[in-house]
């Protein structure tokens, strides 16, 4: 038998109950962020300075932007493993276009041409993914794994593996190091991208279509939604976001690199999952993805300040991902209990 009277099922400890309810309501992330902040603040005096927080956020804005792209694709029930290769290819083509254009025109024109080329390349890569997945029905995992290989091959081929240097200094000045109202340009752009994506997903029809296709492709089709167009939008947007991140990163490092972003597929998926985005598609919010990415950034920054060896850092990142998934599972189980009024 189960609880012999309803009274027995009541929580015994109010604190435990409140903690469990809070955990269910807001998820693991705020808890993890708090733990990370406390740990790193105690390990390094420099951690909780305005200076450091700003620089951590700036470094992190590239991952945030890429994670937003990964997030859209996850919402449709897919994956984008090519996000790192797209970043590399965009970096290389932006740099090459800029260098070529700079010979014959003003820096402003060169920078604009470079950015335009980068954006087109990024969205073009997204288009290739979308066509394979939406019209040839190739599994997103396989398709983006294949294109990842092809895109990074292309990037290496274009540069023969040598970084593209000689970019106009204005490019790095404007997009890499510039501040507006005391806040770095990449942070502004990451915030704008997040806000734009939020508007797309919650306030527009195509955004709603992304959720519905991810939740049940069959039911979406029966509602007259075009799966093809929806996936096209998602993958092209993901390519576009990867391109934005890549252009900013290229401006920061002042060269076009064919090996940029190699760890992005893992990092972006990890960020989204830690944030609580479902891998089955159809559920997750922009804020979840952003917080997940920010958390990964805090951990990396804290470990840098604490002068933890980068090999250990990789191990920690992997462990944190696994931990977050376990914690998330615990949360859904607790949610059932709380839902049922047991806690």
């Amino acid at each position: 038998m189960t609880a012999s009277s309803p009274a027995v099922a009541r929580p015994r400890n109010l604190m435990v109950s409140l903690a469990a309810r809070g955990f269910v309501k807001i998820g693991v992330l705020p808890v993890l962020v708090l733990v990370a902040l406390v740990v790193f603040a105690s390990m390094s005096d420099n951690f909780l300075t305005v200076e450091n927080i700003h620089s951590a956020l700036r470094q992190n804005s590239y991952i945030v932007i890429a994670t937003l792209g990964q997030f859209i694709v996850l919402l449709t029930g897919g994956f984008d493993l090519s996000i790192g290769a797209v970043t590399a290819l965009v970096s290389v083509s932006t740099a090459m276009a800029m260098v070529a254009q700079a010979e014959s025109s003003s820096p402003l024109t060169a920078v604009l041409v470079g950015i335009a080329v980068g954006m087109l390349v990024g969205m073009g890569c997204g288009l290739v993914n979308a066509l394979g997945i939406a019209s040839l029905n190739i599994n997103p995992f396989i398709m983006t794994l294949a294109t990842a290989s092809a895109f990074s091959g292309l990037a290496l081929m274009l540069t023969s593996g040598v970084p593209v240097a000689g970019l106009p200094v204005e490019f790095s000045d404007w997009l890499g190091f510039n501040k507006i109202f005391g806040i770095g340009v990449p942070i502004w752009i990451a915030a704008l991208a997040a806000a734009g994506l939020w508007v797309l997903l919650t306030l527009t029809r195509p955004g709603r279509h992304i959720y519905s296709v991810g939740s049940s492709p069959k039911a979406a089709r029966l509602s007259g939604i075009s799966e093809f167009r929806t996936l096209l939008l998602a993958y092209v947007a993901a390519g576009g976001l990867a391109a934005i991140g890549s252009v900013l990163l290229t401006a920061r490092i002042e060269t076009g690199e064919a090996n940029l972003g190699a760890s992005l597929p893992l990092q972006t998926i990890a960020a989204a999952v830690i944030g609580g985005v479902s891998l089955r598609g159809g559920s997750g919010r922009v804020i979840d993805a952003v917080l997940g990415a920010v958390f990964i950034g805090i951990v990396a920054n804290g470990m840098n300040l604490a002068q933890i060896n980068s090999y250990y850092q990789m191990i920690v990142t992997g462990a944190v991902l696994a931990l977050a998934v376990v914690a998330d599972r615990l949360r859904s189980r607790l949610a059932v209990a709380v839902y049922a009024g047991k806690v």
């Binding site: 189960t2 012999s4 099922a9 029809r205 509602s223 939604i225 075009s226």
Partner: protein, 505 residues
């Protein structure tokens, strides 16, 4: 009086904002069919999900075979001989029928499964029930009714003492249901206690030894199986339900949708010709797999068409995509609400409004207006008498009948010229059916063409101006007026071979 096989006392289950079960007492005797009866959302599925170990209660006791038991999971319940067929199926879609049938007790040697034996066991099990389904088929390729059969075959195990069936005939036709009744009666004869949930009065007449009525999660009473229908409905709803079927309006004459010589690629429909007229309610009757459903799906672009044409509002839309068909004012209600209708983890509002977001109050340009959308959805849920009528709850948290009402509400929201409704009242309680039938008739009165595909004979008999009977993929009769009677329909349902002379081909 025999000792009950199952005794439930003070059972309570709460969800946020809803008490699904409130101090319910329930007894099940050996060798009886005990029907659970109640409105959508009354707590029937919740009760059996607790008794079968799928959910834990918040309070109360369960005794099986005279001993207090703790049902920690479905496996624990099964070990006590309690086995259930749930309203929402629990089969593994990517596994074969055979694998699903033996799941949890796979025969094998040294840790390897013995595929051949699994197949043979499954074959035997299916034959025993007379279900003609190949054991090698993947579950995801089965129709809802076929899945239902596999679920039933899976639940009948040799060491059974309590068998639980939650709306088992919801998508079966009379023919298939008849076979199930025989099985249930045979099980009763062997001393098995059976909990049977249904909204169909005829099944209560046919099977019930006792009926327990639930309302709003509370026990109303337990009465003998021969209690008159009106009294049961009265106990269930707390009010008197008069005529179930409203009077039909005079049909129009304009043909809205016409199919000529329609043949689908997979042969599920062959050379079918039919038409729907404005202001008319047309019925498709037939057994499972007779093509009645496939014919409707083909009109909506969900089946590959091999030959023949579908013309809608004068436009040739043969093989067009659902989106294109919808543009010409057609809406389709799928019979499989979980697979093809609902966005389960999303708020029910999104399921309801998705096809119509483009409409005036809900968006301006590509921008949504969340407030308006919420109002439209909430309004429709209230009009369809959903409980709870809260559009922000996830679709999955609604009871089966309420999910169905939500989907139907979505179809009605379309203000279309043609409605293709595949099993519109699956799982809906008698009281709510009255509302649904009224709405369907109101559609016709307003000049829409309505197609009702149904495996429930009464719906075909009382709701339709004209009926096409399907058998083996072909239309075997077109009936109107006094010809729409049980005898004629059944005769043509069983009909083999060439279409009858009345076919309009």
């Amino acid at each position: 009086m025999t000792e009950p096989v199952l005794r439930v006392r003070g059972l309570t289950k709460k969800y946020p904002g809803v008490t699904a079960l409130d101090q319910v007492d329930f007894d099940l005797r050996r060798g009886e069919v005990h029907v659970l009866f109640g409105e959508n959302g009354a707590g029937k599925s919740t009760l059996i999900s607790i008794v079968s170990g799928a959910q834990r209660p918040d309070g109360g006791t369960i005794e099986a075979g005279g001993r207090a038991v703790e049902l920690s999971g479905v496996a624990a319940a099964r070990a006590l001989g309690i086995s259930a067929v749930f309203q929402e199926f629990s089969l593994m879609p990517t596994m074969t029928v055979a694998e699903n049938l033996v799941m949890g007790s796979e025969p094998g040697r040294f840790g390897f499964v013995d595929r051949r034996r699994i197949r043979r066991l499954a074959r035997e099990r299916l034959d025993e029930f007379g279900f003609r389904i190949a054991p090698d088929r993947l579950v995801e390729t089965l129709s809802r009714a076929e899945q239902q059969m596999v679920e039933i075959a899976k639940a009948f195990r040799p060491e059974l003492s309590v068998l639980i069936l939650d709306e088992p005939t919801a998508s079966l036709t009379d023919e298939e249901a008849e076979r199930l009744f025989a099985l249930v009666e045979e099980a009763r004869g062997r001393g098995i206690g059976i909990i049977y949930i249904t909204h169909r009065m005829a099944e209560i007449r046919r099977l019930a030894d006792r009926v327990t009525v639930l309302r709003d999660g509370r026990l109303v009473t337990t009465v003998p199986g021969d209690t008159p229908d009106e009294q049961l409905i009265n106990l269930m709803t707390g009010r008197v339900v008069e005529d179930l079927y409203p009077e039909l309006p005079v049909p129009g004459t304009d043909v809205v949708l016409a199919a000529r010589g329609l043949t689908t690629f997979d042969g599920s429909v062959r050379n079918a010709s039919f038409e729907l007229r404005a202001g008319e309610i047309v019925g498709f009757a037939g057994l499972m797999g007779s093509g009645k459903s496939a014919a409707a799906r083909a009109c909506f672009g969900l089946e590959r068409v091999d030959s023949g044409t579908v013309t809608i509002a004068g436009q040739d839309l043969t093989g067009a995509k659902p989106a294109a068909v919808m543009k010409s004012g057609v809406v389709y209600l799928p019979s499989d609400r979980k697979q093809e209708g609902l966005f389960l983890e999303r708020p029910l509002r999104e399921t309801v409004t998705l096809p119509w977001l483009r409409r005036a109050p809900m968006s301006t340009g590509p921008l949504l207006r969340p407030g308006r959308e919420r109002a439209v959805a909430g309004d429709m849920l209230r009009r369809m008498q959903l409980s709870p009528a809260d559009p922000e709850r996830p679709a999955a948290s609604y009871s089966g009948g309420n999910q169905q009402k939500g989907l139907l509400g979505r179809a009605l929201l379309g203000e279309c010229t043609t409605y293709l409704l595949d099993e519109p009242t699956v799982g809906v309680d008698v009281g709510a059916r009255v509302t649904i039938y009224e709405r369907i008739v109101a559609l016709a009165r307003a000049g829409s063409a309505v197609l009702v595909v149904s495996s429930e004979l009464p719906e075909i008999l009382h709701l339709c101006h004209r009926v096409y009977v399907f058998s083996h993929g072909q239309i075997t009769a077109e009936l109107t007026g006094a010809d729409i009677n049980e005898e004629m329909i059944l005769r043509h349902m069983m009909h083999w071979g060439e279409p009858a002379a009345k076919d309009i081909a």
